[in-house]
Amino acid sequence: MTDERTLAPFGRRAAAVTWRARYGAYVVLGCADTGGPRPQAGQFYMLSAAERWGGGEGERPFLPRAFSVLRAPAGSPELEFLVEDVGPGTKRLAELREGDEVLLTGPLGVGFTPPRETRRPLLVGGGVGIAPLAILQDQLFPNAVPLLGFRDGAHAAGAELLIGARIATDDGSAGHHGLVSELLEAELARDSDVEVYACGPPAMLEAVRRECERRGVPAQLALESGMACGFGACFGCVVATRGGYLRLCLEGPVIDANQLAEVSAPEKQPAGATPANR
Protein backbone atom coordinates (compact mmCIF):
# COMPACT_ATOMS: atom_id res chain seq x y z
CA MET A 1 0.00 0.00 0.00
CA THR A 2 1.37 3.41 -0.86
CA ASP A 3 1.63 5.89 1.93
CA GLU A 4 -0.34 8.92 0.77
CA ARG A 5 -0.42 10.91 3.97
CA THR A 6 0.25 14.63 3.83
CA LEU A 7 3.67 15.11 5.43
CA ALA A 8 4.24 17.41 8.38
CA PRO A 9 6.99 20.03 8.34
CA PHE A 10 9.73 18.78 10.69
CA GLY A 11 9.44 20.16 14.22
CA ARG A 12 6.77 22.15 15.99
CA ARG A 13 5.73 25.64 14.96
CA ALA A 14 3.78 28.51 16.47
CA ALA A 15 0.36 29.47 15.15
CA ALA A 16 -1.74 32.40 16.37
CA VAL A 17 -5.29 31.83 17.52
CA THR A 18 -7.38 34.01 15.18
CA TRP A 19 -10.82 33.30 16.59
CA ARG A 20 -12.64 31.27 19.18
CA ALA A 21 -16.27 30.23 19.34
CA ARG A 22 -18.37 28.23 21.76
CA TYR A 23 -20.76 25.51 20.58
CA GLY A 24 -22.54 24.40 23.72
CA ALA A 25 -20.08 22.23 25.66
CA TYR A 26 -17.38 22.62 23.02
CA VAL A 27 -14.92 25.33 22.01
CA VAL A 28 -13.72 25.81 18.44
CA LEU A 29 -10.30 27.40 17.94
CA GLY A 30 -9.26 28.89 14.61
CA CYS A 31 -5.47 29.10 14.15
CA ALA A 32 -3.40 30.67 11.36
CA ASP A 33 -0.94 27.96 10.31
CA THR A 34 0.99 30.10 7.87
CA GLY A 35 3.30 27.97 5.79
CA GLY A 36 1.92 24.61 6.96
CA PRO A 37 0.44 22.17 4.40
CA ARG A 38 -3.30 21.54 4.07
CA PRO A 39 -4.22 18.37 5.99
CA GLN A 40 -6.32 15.44 4.81
CA ALA A 41 -9.60 14.59 6.52
CA GLY A 42 -8.83 12.33 9.49
CA GLN A 43 -5.28 13.55 10.07
CA PHE A 44 -4.46 15.13 13.44
CA TYR A 45 -2.10 17.61 15.09
CA MET A 46 -0.23 17.59 18.39
CA LEU A 47 -1.11 20.87 20.14
CA SER A 48 0.06 22.75 23.20
CA ALA A 49 -0.35 26.32 24.37
CA ALA A 50 2.79 28.42 23.85
CA GLU A 51 2.33 29.91 27.33
CA ARG A 52 1.50 28.17 30.62
CA TRP A 53 1.81 24.63 29.41
CA GLY A 54 3.31 22.77 32.33
CA GLY A 55 2.77 25.17 35.23
CA GLY A 56 -0.83 24.32 36.12
CA GLU A 57 -2.23 22.37 39.03
CA GLY A 58 -0.32 19.13 39.44
CA GLU A 59 2.23 20.49 36.94
CA ARG A 60 0.21 19.07 34.05
CA PRO A 61 -0.14 19.29 31.07
CA PHE A 62 3.44 18.46 30.13
CA LEU A 63 3.07 16.59 26.83
CA PRO A 64 1.24 18.02 23.81
CA ARG A 65 -2.30 16.71 23.14
CA ALA A 66 -3.69 15.11 19.97
CA PHE A 67 -6.52 16.86 18.08
CA SER A 68 -8.23 15.90 14.85
CA VAL A 69 -8.47 18.76 12.45
CA LEU A 70 -12.08 19.95 12.43
CA ARG A 71 -11.81 22.06 9.28
CA ALA A 72 -9.08 23.36 7.00
CA PRO A 73 -10.73 25.78 4.55
CA ALA A 74 -9.07 25.65 1.12
CA GLY A 75 -7.06 28.68 0.07
CA SER A 76 -6.55 29.86 3.65
CA PRO A 77 -3.84 29.14 6.25
CA GLU A 78 -6.56 28.46 8.79
CA LEU A 79 -6.90 25.28 10.82
CA GLU A 80 -9.88 24.73 13.10
CA PHE A 81 -9.92 22.46 16.13
CA LEU A 82 -12.80 21.28 18.30
CA VAL A 83 -11.92 21.10 21.99
CA GLU A 84 -13.82 19.47 24.83
CA ASP A 85 -12.51 20.32 28.30
CA VAL A 86 -11.92 16.95 29.96
CA GLY A 87 -8.65 17.61 31.82
CA PRO A 88 -5.74 20.03 32.26
CA GLY A 89 -4.56 20.05 28.64
CA THR A 90 -7.93 20.55 27.00
CA LYS A 91 -8.87 23.07 29.72
CA ARG A 92 -5.81 25.20 28.93
CA LEU A 93 -6.45 25.07 25.16
CA ALA A 94 -10.15 25.86 25.61
CA GLU A 95 -9.32 29.06 27.50
CA LEU A 96 -7.06 30.48 24.75
CA ARG A 97 -8.18 33.74 23.19
CA GLU A 98 -7.57 35.55 19.92
CA GLY A 99 -3.91 36.57 19.72
CA ASP A 100 -2.65 33.75 21.98
CA GLU A 101 -0.35 31.20 20.38
CA VAL A 102 -0.44 27.45 20.09
CA LEU A 103 2.52 25.23 19.23
CA LEU A 104 1.61 22.54 16.74
CA THR A 105 3.14 19.58 14.94
CA GLY A 106 1.32 18.09 11.99
CA PRO A 107 -0.58 17.05 10.03
CA LEU A 108 0.10 13.55 11.40
CA GLY A 109 -1.19 10.06 10.79
CA VAL A 110 -3.28 8.69 7.93
CA GLY A 111 -6.76 9.96 7.17
CA PHE A 112 -9.90 8.56 5.54
CA THR A 113 -9.90 7.07 2.04
CA PRO A 114 -12.71 7.16 -0.58
CA PRO A 115 -15.42 4.46 -0.42
CA ARG A 116 -14.99 1.09 -2.09
CA GLU A 117 -16.92 0.36 -5.32
CA THR A 118 -20.07 2.44 -5.65
CA ARG A 119 -20.85 2.61 -1.98
CA ARG A 120 -22.47 5.70 -0.50
CA PRO A 121 -20.57 7.31 2.43
CA LEU A 122 -22.33 7.22 5.80
CA LEU A 123 -20.85 9.40 8.55
CA VAL A 124 -21.32 8.41 12.20
CA GLY A 125 -19.98 10.52 15.05
CA GLY A 126 -20.15 10.58 18.82
CA GLY A 127 -19.33 13.54 21.07
CA VAL A 128 -16.08 15.30 20.26
CA GLY A 129 -15.54 12.54 17.68
CA ILE A 130 -17.64 14.56 15.25
CA ALA A 131 -14.51 16.69 14.54
CA PRO A 132 -12.92 14.70 11.68
CA LEU A 133 -16.36 14.23 10.08
CA ALA A 134 -16.71 17.98 9.46
CA ILE A 135 -13.57 18.18 7.31
CA LEU A 136 -14.58 14.88 5.69
CA GLN A 137 -17.91 16.43 4.71
CA ASP A 138 -16.11 19.56 3.43
CA GLN A 139 -13.48 17.71 1.41
CA LEU A 140 -15.16 14.57 0.12
CA PHE A 141 -18.82 14.13 0.91
CA PRO A 142 -20.80 17.40 0.82
CA ASN A 143 -24.06 15.48 0.42
CA ALA A 144 -23.59 12.83 3.10
CA VAL A 145 -26.07 12.95 5.99
CA PRO A 146 -24.16 12.52 9.27
CA LEU A 147 -25.63 10.57 12.18
CA LEU A 148 -24.39 12.13 15.42
CA GLY A 149 -24.75 11.06 19.04
CA PHE A 150 -24.33 13.24 22.13
CA ARG A 151 -24.71 12.96 25.86
CA ASP A 152 -27.18 15.85 26.22
CA GLY A 153 -28.45 19.07 24.70
CA ALA A 154 -25.35 21.12 25.61
CA HIS A 155 -23.16 18.71 23.66
CA ALA A 156 -25.66 18.35 20.82
CA ALA A 157 -24.96 22.01 20.00
CA GLY A 158 -21.85 20.63 18.29
CA ALA A 159 -24.09 19.19 15.56
CA GLU A 160 -24.27 22.70 14.03
CA LEU A 161 -20.69 22.17 12.88
CA LEU A 162 -21.88 19.67 10.26
CA ILE A 163 -24.49 20.09 7.56
CA GLY A 164 -27.82 18.27 7.79
CA ALA A 165 -27.01 16.04 10.74
CA ARG A 166 -29.49 13.64 12.35
CA ILE A 167 -29.05 13.57 16.09
CA ALA A 168 -29.43 11.15 18.98
CA THR A 169 -28.99 12.12 22.63
CA ASP A 170 -28.60 9.86 25.65
CA ASP A 171 -31.05 11.98 27.66
CA GLY A 172 -33.53 12.62 24.86
CA SER A 173 -33.09 16.41 25.02
CA ALA A 174 -32.52 16.61 21.26
CA GLY A 175 -33.33 14.28 18.36
CA HIS A 176 -33.70 10.53 18.86
CA HIS A 177 -33.75 9.49 22.54
CA GLY A 178 -31.06 6.82 22.57
CA LEU A 179 -27.81 5.85 20.94
CA VAL A 180 -26.44 6.90 17.57
CA SER A 181 -25.75 3.23 16.87
CA GLU A 182 -29.55 2.75 16.84
CA LEU A 183 -29.82 5.37 14.07
CA LEU A 184 -27.08 3.48 12.24
CA GLU A 185 -28.91 0.14 12.57
CA ALA A 186 -32.07 1.66 11.10
CA GLU A 187 -30.12 3.26 8.28
CA LEU A 188 -28.27 0.05 7.40
CA ALA A 189 -31.55 -1.90 7.46
CA ARG A 190 -32.88 0.54 4.87
CA ASP A 191 -29.79 0.57 2.62
CA SER A 192 -26.55 -1.27 3.30
CA ASP A 193 -24.76 -0.30 0.08
CA VAL A 194 -22.71 2.14 2.14
CA GLU A 195 -19.25 2.60 3.61
CA VAL A 196 -19.25 3.85 7.19
CA TYR A 197 -16.89 6.59 8.42
CA ALA A 198 -16.99 6.75 12.20
CA CYS A 199 -15.31 8.53 15.09
CA GLY A 200 -16.35 8.63 18.73
CA PRO A 201 -15.90 7.01 22.13
CA PRO A 202 -14.73 3.37 22.21
CA ALA A 203 -18.12 1.92 23.21
CA MET A 204 -19.81 3.67 20.29
CA LEU A 205 -17.13 2.60 17.82
CA GLU A 206 -17.41 -0.98 19.04
CA ALA A 207 -21.19 -0.89 18.47
CA VAL A 208 -20.58 0.54 14.97
CA ARG A 209 -17.93 -2.08 14.25
CA ARG A 210 -20.20 -4.95 15.32
CA GLU A 211 -23.18 -3.69 13.34
CA CYS A 212 -21.06 -3.19 10.20
CA GLU A 213 -19.47 -6.61 10.59
CA ARG A 214 -22.91 -8.22 10.99
CA ARG A 215 -24.12 -6.64 7.74
CA GLY A 216 -20.86 -6.98 5.80
CA VAL A 217 -20.52 -3.20 5.51
CA PRO A 218 -16.97 -1.79 5.27
CA ALA A 219 -16.07 0.81 7.89
CA GLN A 220 -13.24 3.23 8.53
CA LEU A 221 -12.90 4.02 12.24
CA ALA A 222 -10.95 6.99 13.63
CA LEU A 223 -9.70 5.75 17.01
CA GLU A 224 -8.16 7.45 20.02
CA SER A 225 -5.44 6.40 22.43
CA GLY A 226 -3.15 8.17 24.85
CA MET A 227 -0.30 9.71 22.86
CA ALA A 228 2.98 11.23 24.01
CA CYS A 229 4.60 12.15 20.69
CA GLY A 230 2.26 11.65 17.72
CA PHE A 231 5.04 10.71 15.28
CA GLY A 232 5.94 7.13 16.11
CA ALA A 233 8.74 7.90 18.57
CA CYS A 234 7.47 6.52 21.88
CA PHE A 235 5.42 3.36 21.07
CA GLY A 236 2.98 4.55 23.74
CA CYS A 237 -0.19 4.77 21.62
CA VAL A 238 -0.54 1.15 20.50
CA VAL A 239 -3.93 -0.45 19.92
CA ALA A 240 -4.48 -4.20 19.70
CA THR A 241 -5.40 -5.34 16.18
CA ARG A 242 -5.79 -8.79 14.63
CA GLY A 243 -2.20 -8.42 13.45
CA GLY A 244 -0.77 -7.36 16.82
CA TYR A 245 -0.15 -3.92 18.26
CA LEU A 246 -0.16 -0.92 15.91
CA ARG A 247 1.12 2.55 16.69
CA LEU A 248 -2.09 4.52 16.22
CA CYS A 249 -0.29 7.81 15.53
CA LEU A 250 1.59 6.28 12.62
CA GLU A 251 -0.68 3.57 11.15
CA GLY A 252 -3.90 5.40 12.19
CA PRO A 253 -5.77 7.15 13.62
CA VAL A 254 -8.11 5.89 10.89
CA ILE A 255 -8.15 2.08 10.90
CA ASP A 256 -10.14 -0.25 8.69
CA ALA A 257 -12.70 -1.96 10.94
CA ASN A 258 -11.80 -5.43 9.69
CA GLN A 259 -8.33 -5.01 11.19
CA LEU A 260 -9.90 -5.01 14.66
CA ALA A 261 -11.36 -7.89 16.63
CA GLU A 262 -12.78 -5.34 19.05
CA VAL A 263 -12.56 -1.63 19.87
CA SER A 264 -11.76 -1.35 23.55
CA ALA A 265 -10.91 1.52 25.85
CA PRO A 266 -7.12 1.63 26.27
CA GLU A 267 -7.35 0.91 29.98
CA LYS A 268 -9.54 -2.10 29.24
CA GLN A 269 -7.59 -3.77 26.46
CA PRO A 270 -7.34 -7.46 27.34
CA ALA A 271 -3.80 -8.19 28.50
CA GLY A 272 -3.74 -11.44 26.55
CA ALA A 273 -5.03 -9.91 23.31
CA THR A 274 -1.63 -10.18 21.71
CA PRO A 275 1.43 -12.09 22.85
CA ALA A 276 2.96 -9.46 25.13
CA ASN A 277 6.34 -9.78 26.75
CA ARG A 278 7.53 -12.95 25.14
Binding site: P9, P61, C229, G232, C234, N277
Partner: protein, 289 residues
Protein backbone atom coordinates in the same frame (compact mmCIF):
# COMPACT_ATOMS: atom_id res chain seq x y z
CA UNK B 1 33.96 18.08 14.78
CA UNK B 2 34.42 16.31 18.07
CA UNK B 3 35.74 12.84 18.71
CA UNK B 4 33.78 10.29 20.72
CA UNK B 5 35.50 6.88 20.98
CA UNK B 6 37.03 7.47 17.52
CA UNK B 7 33.69 8.53 15.95
CA UNK B 8 33.62 12.04 14.47
CA UNK B 9 30.51 13.94 15.57
CA UNK B 10 29.30 17.34 14.44
CA UNK B 11 28.07 18.42 17.88
CA UNK B 12 27.58 16.80 21.31
CA UNK B 13 23.81 16.16 21.14
CA UNK B 14 22.45 12.68 20.38
CA UNK B 15 19.11 10.98 21.19
CA UNK B 16 18.23 8.70 24.08
CA UNK B 17 17.46 5.15 22.93
CA UNK B 18 13.73 4.56 22.44
CA UNK B 19 12.77 8.22 22.31
CA UNK B 20 13.09 8.84 18.57
CA UNK B 21 12.32 6.41 15.74
CA UNK B 22 14.08 7.79 12.67
CA UNK B 23 12.20 5.43 10.32
CA UNK B 24 8.78 6.44 11.68
CA UNK B 25 9.80 10.10 11.73
CA UNK B 26 10.74 9.89 8.07
CA UNK B 27 7.25 8.58 7.30
CA UNK B 28 5.71 11.53 9.17
CA UNK B 29 8.09 14.30 8.08
CA UNK B 30 9.59 12.97 4.84
CA UNK B 31 13.13 13.76 3.71
CA UNK B 32 12.98 17.13 5.53
CA UNK B 33 14.04 15.03 8.52
CA UNK B 34 17.32 14.07 6.85
CA UNK B 35 18.03 17.65 5.75
CA UNK B 36 17.93 18.94 9.32
CA UNK B 37 18.58 15.79 11.31
CA UNK B 38 18.40 16.80 14.97
CA UNK B 39 21.14 14.56 16.38
CA UNK B 40 24.90 14.16 15.79
CA UNK B 41 24.52 10.37 15.97
CA UNK B 42 21.41 8.20 15.98
CA UNK B 43 20.84 5.65 18.75
CA UNK B 44 18.31 2.90 17.92
CA UNK B 45 15.62 1.61 20.22
CA UNK B 46 16.76 -1.50 22.10
CA UNK B 47 17.11 -4.57 19.85
CA UNK B 48 16.69 -8.02 21.43
CA UNK B 49 17.41 -11.43 19.90
CA UNK B 50 13.73 -12.48 19.69
CA UNK B 51 10.97 -10.14 18.44
CA UNK B 52 8.87 -8.54 21.18
CA UNK B 53 5.32 -7.12 21.04
CA UNK B 54 5.89 -4.97 24.11
CA UNK B 55 3.65 -4.48 27.14
CA UNK B 56 -0.16 -4.31 27.09
CA UNK B 57 -1.59 -0.77 27.02
CA UNK B 58 -1.95 1.66 28.62
CA UNK B 59 1.76 2.36 28.37
CA UNK B 60 1.91 6.04 29.35
CA UNK B 61 1.09 8.15 32.37
CA UNK B 62 1.90 11.84 32.58
CA UNK B 63 3.39 13.08 35.88
CA UNK B 64 4.55 16.47 37.13
CA UNK B 65 7.32 17.38 34.69
CA UNK B 66 7.55 14.10 32.85
CA UNK B 67 6.01 10.75 32.21
CA UNK B 68 6.06 7.13 33.25
CA UNK B 69 6.29 4.63 30.40
CA UNK B 70 5.84 0.87 30.35
CA UNK B 71 6.56 0.32 26.66
CA UNK B 72 8.24 -3.04 27.16
CA UNK B 73 10.93 -2.85 24.47
CA UNK B 74 8.84 -3.81 21.41
CA UNK B 75 11.14 -4.55 18.47
CA UNK B 76 11.45 -6.79 15.44
CA UNK B 77 14.20 -8.91 16.93
CA UNK B 78 17.72 -9.23 15.60
CA UNK B 79 16.87 -10.75 12.23
CA UNK B 80 13.95 -8.46 11.54
CA UNK B 81 16.08 -5.45 12.45
CA UNK B 82 18.96 -6.53 10.21
CA UNK B 83 16.67 -7.23 7.26
CA UNK B 84 14.19 -4.34 7.52
CA UNK B 85 15.53 -1.49 9.65
CA UNK B 86 19.30 -1.44 9.25
CA UNK B 87 19.25 -0.65 5.49
CA UNK B 88 16.96 2.36 6.15
CA UNK B 89 18.97 3.56 9.13
CA UNK B 90 22.14 3.38 7.04
CA UNK B 91 20.68 6.23 4.94
CA UNK B 92 20.75 8.64 7.88
CA UNK B 93 23.30 11.46 7.56
CA UNK B 94 24.89 10.65 10.95
CA UNK B 95 26.74 7.70 12.57
CA UNK B 96 24.55 4.86 13.86
CA UNK B 97 24.71 3.47 17.40
CA UNK B 98 22.73 0.26 17.93
CA UNK B 99 21.34 -0.33 21.43
CA UNK B 100 21.06 -4.02 22.34
CA UNK B 101 19.80 -6.04 25.28
CA UNK B 102 19.99 -9.76 26.09
CA UNK B 103 18.43 -11.85 28.79
CA UNK B 104 21.63 -13.86 29.20
CA UNK B 105 25.33 -13.31 28.44
CA UNK B 106 24.97 -15.63 25.44
CA UNK B 107 22.21 -13.46 24.00
CA UNK B 108 24.25 -10.29 24.44
CA UNK B 109 27.19 -12.05 22.79
CA UNK B 110 25.01 -13.07 19.85
CA UNK B 111 23.87 -9.46 19.36
CA UNK B 112 27.37 -8.01 19.69
CA UNK B 113 28.71 -10.59 17.23
CA UNK B 114 26.01 -9.86 14.66
CA UNK B 115 26.49 -6.08 14.71
CA UNK B 116 30.28 -6.25 14.78
CA UNK B 117 30.11 -7.56 11.20
CA UNK B 118 28.07 -4.59 9.98
CA UNK B 119 29.96 -1.56 8.66
CA UNK B 120 26.81 0.58 8.94
CA UNK B 121 27.13 0.39 12.73
CA UNK B 122 29.57 2.85 14.37
CA UNK B 123 29.13 1.71 17.98
CA UNK B 124 27.03 -0.48 20.27
CA UNK B 125 25.19 0.53 23.41
CA UNK B 126 24.43 -2.24 25.90
CA UNK B 127 21.16 -1.78 27.79
CA UNK B 128 21.81 -3.64 31.04
CA UNK B 129 18.54 -2.68 32.76
CA UNK B 130 17.12 -6.20 32.62
CA UNK B 131 17.43 -9.35 34.67
CA UNK B 132 19.91 -12.04 33.67
CA UNK B 133 17.60 -15.06 33.49
CA UNK B 134 20.45 -17.30 34.64
CA UNK B 135 21.40 -15.43 37.80
CA UNK B 136 18.17 -13.53 38.46
CA UNK B 137 20.17 -10.33 39.03
CA UNK B 138 19.55 -7.16 37.05
CA UNK B 139 22.71 -7.07 34.96
CA UNK B 140 23.33 -3.38 35.44
CA UNK B 141 22.54 -3.27 39.15
CA UNK B 142 25.49 -5.36 40.25
CA UNK B 143 29.21 -4.65 39.60
CA UNK B 144 30.05 -8.37 39.39
CA UNK B 145 27.32 -9.04 36.79
CA UNK B 146 28.45 -6.12 34.63
CA UNK B 147 32.08 -7.20 34.82
CA UNK B 148 31.25 -10.79 33.88
CA UNK B 149 29.09 -9.65 30.97
CA UNK B 150 31.76 -7.32 29.57
CA UNK B 151 34.54 -9.87 29.98
CA UNK B 152 32.40 -12.14 27.81
CA UNK B 153 31.55 -9.62 25.06
CA UNK B 154 34.42 -7.10 24.74
CA UNK B 155 36.75 -9.66 23.05
CA UNK B 156 34.07 -10.17 20.36
CA UNK B 157 34.15 -6.68 18.90
CA UNK B 158 36.41 -3.89 17.76
CA UNK B 159 33.53 -1.42 17.87
CA UNK B 160 33.12 0.97 20.82
CA UNK B 161 30.88 -0.52 23.53
CA UNK B 162 28.86 1.99 25.50
CA UNK B 163 27.33 0.58 28.68
CA UNK B 164 24.00 2.21 29.55
CA UNK B 165 23.78 2.22 33.32
CA UNK B 166 20.55 1.87 35.24
CA UNK B 167 19.85 4.45 37.94
CA UNK B 168 17.97 1.74 39.85
CA UNK B 169 21.20 0.41 41.38
CA UNK B 170 22.54 0.69 44.92
CA UNK B 171 25.95 2.06 43.99
CA UNK B 172 26.04 3.41 40.45
CA UNK B 173 29.71 4.61 40.56
CA UNK B 174 30.76 1.09 41.64
CA UNK B 175 28.97 -0.40 38.61
CA UNK B 176 30.61 2.28 36.44
CA UNK B 177 34.09 1.38 37.74
CA UNK B 178 33.45 -2.32 37.15
CA UNK B 179 32.36 -1.60 33.56
CA UNK B 180 35.47 0.50 32.91
CA UNK B 181 37.79 -2.12 34.38
CA UNK B 182 36.17 -4.85 32.24
CA UNK B 183 36.71 -2.93 29.02
CA UNK B 184 33.73 -0.64 28.40
CA UNK B 185 34.61 2.15 25.95
CA UNK B 186 32.09 4.62 27.37
CA UNK B 187 29.12 4.87 29.73
CA UNK B 188 25.69 6.38 29.26
CA UNK B 189 23.25 7.41 31.99
CA UNK B 190 20.62 7.75 33.23
CA UNK B 191 18.03 5.28 32.08
CA UNK B 192 14.52 5.70 33.52
CA UNK B 193 13.75 5.39 37.24
CA UNK B 194 11.13 2.88 38.35
CA UNK B 195 7.76 4.45 39.12
CA UNK B 196 4.04 3.74 39.07
CA UNK B 197 0.62 5.40 38.92
CA UNK B 198 -2.83 4.32 40.08
CA UNK B 199 -5.96 4.68 37.96
CA UNK B 200 -7.91 7.46 39.72
CA UNK B 201 -11.18 5.61 39.02
CA UNK B 202 -10.35 2.09 40.15
CA UNK B 203 -7.34 2.57 42.41
CA UNK B 204 -5.60 -0.22 40.47
CA UNK B 205 -2.23 0.18 38.69
CA UNK B 206 -2.78 2.28 35.54
CA UNK B 207 0.07 0.93 33.46
CA UNK B 208 -0.38 -2.37 31.66
CA UNK B 209 2.87 -3.61 33.16
CA UNK B 210 2.03 -2.29 36.70
CA UNK B 211 5.24 -0.24 36.97
CA UNK B 212 7.19 1.77 34.43
CA UNK B 213 10.12 4.14 34.04
CA UNK B 214 10.03 7.84 34.90
CA UNK B 215 11.73 10.27 32.51
CA UNK B 216 11.70 13.96 31.66
CA UNK B 217 12.43 17.11 33.70
CA UNK B 218 11.28 15.25 36.83
CA UNK B 219 14.53 13.21 36.76
CA UNK B 220 16.92 16.00 35.72
CA UNK B 221 18.41 16.65 39.17
CA UNK B 222 18.94 12.91 39.71
CA UNK B 223 20.66 12.62 36.33
CA UNK B 224 22.98 15.50 37.16
CA UNK B 225 23.97 13.94 40.49
CA UNK B 226 24.60 10.51 38.95
CA UNK B 227 26.61 11.87 36.01
CA UNK B 228 28.66 13.98 38.43
CA UNK B 229 29.41 10.98 40.66
CA UNK B 230 30.23 8.63 37.77
CA UNK B 231 32.47 11.21 36.08
CA UNK B 232 34.54 11.28 39.26
CA UNK B 233 34.77 7.49 39.35
CA UNK B 234 35.94 6.72 35.78
CA UNK B 235 38.18 8.05 33.00
CA UNK B 236 36.17 6.81 29.98
CA UNK B 237 33.75 9.15 28.13
CA UNK B 238 30.20 9.64 29.39
CA UNK B 239 26.90 10.26 27.59
CA UNK B 240 24.73 12.19 30.03
CA UNK B 241 20.93 12.26 29.81
CA UNK B 242 17.81 12.75 31.85
CA UNK B 243 15.31 15.57 31.54
CA UNK B 244 17.24 17.73 29.08
CA UNK B 245 14.94 20.39 27.61
CA UNK B 246 17.19 23.41 27.04
CA UNK B 247 20.77 24.20 26.01
CA UNK B 248 21.47 25.11 29.65
CA UNK B 249 20.35 21.67 30.81
CA UNK B 250 22.79 20.14 28.32
CA UNK B 251 25.57 22.49 29.41
CA UNK B 252 25.03 21.47 33.02
CA UNK B 253 25.48 17.77 32.21
CA UNK B 254 28.67 18.63 30.29
CA UNK B 255 29.90 20.64 33.28
CA UNK B 256 29.12 17.69 35.55
CA UNK B 257 31.46 15.56 33.44
CA UNK B 258 29.54 14.28 30.41
CA UNK B 259 31.20 14.30 26.96
CA UNK B 260 27.95 13.97 24.99
CA UNK B 261 24.36 14.72 26.00
CA UNK B 262 21.27 12.81 24.89
CA UNK B 263 17.82 14.34 24.50
CA UNK B 264 14.98 11.91 25.25
CA UNK B 265 11.46 12.77 26.36
CA UNK B 266 11.76 16.39 25.15
CA UNK B 267 11.64 15.09 21.55
CA UNK B 268 8.03 14.00 22.25
CA UNK B 269 7.11 17.63 22.92
CA UNK B 270 9.17 18.98 20.05
CA UNK B 271 10.45 16.58 17.38
CA UNK B 272 13.27 19.03 16.55
CA UNK B 273 14.30 19.51 20.21
CA UNK B 274 17.73 17.96 19.55
CA UNK B 275 18.56 20.58 16.97
CA UNK B 276 17.27 23.41 19.17
CA UNK B 277 19.44 22.21 22.08
CA UNK B 278 22.52 21.69 19.86
CA UNK B 279 22.23 25.13 18.26
CA UNK B 280 21.64 26.87 21.57
CA UNK B 281 24.56 25.05 23.16
CA UNK B 282 26.79 26.08 20.23
CA UNK B 283 25.84 29.72 20.82
CA UNK B 284 26.55 29.53 24.54
CA UNK B 285 29.96 27.94 23.94
CA UNK B 286 30.84 30.44 21.16
CA UNK B 287 29.99 33.38 23.41
CA UNK B 288 32.27 32.06 26.11
CA UNK B 289 35.42 31.74 24.02
Amino acid sequence: MLDFCGIALEHPIINGSGTFDAIAARRAFGDALLESFPFAAFVTKTVTVAPREGNPPPRLWEVAGGLINSIGLPNKGLHGFLAEDLPELAELPVPLIVNVMGFSRDEVAELVDAFTERDEVAALELNVSCPNVETGLVMGADPGEVAALLERVTPLTGKPLIVKLTPNAGDVPAVARAAEAAGASALSLINTLRGMALDPGTGQPWLGATTGGVSGPAVRAIALAQVYAVARAVEIPIVGMGGVQTPTDALNLLRAGADLVAVGTESFRDPAAGRRVAEGLGTIVANRT
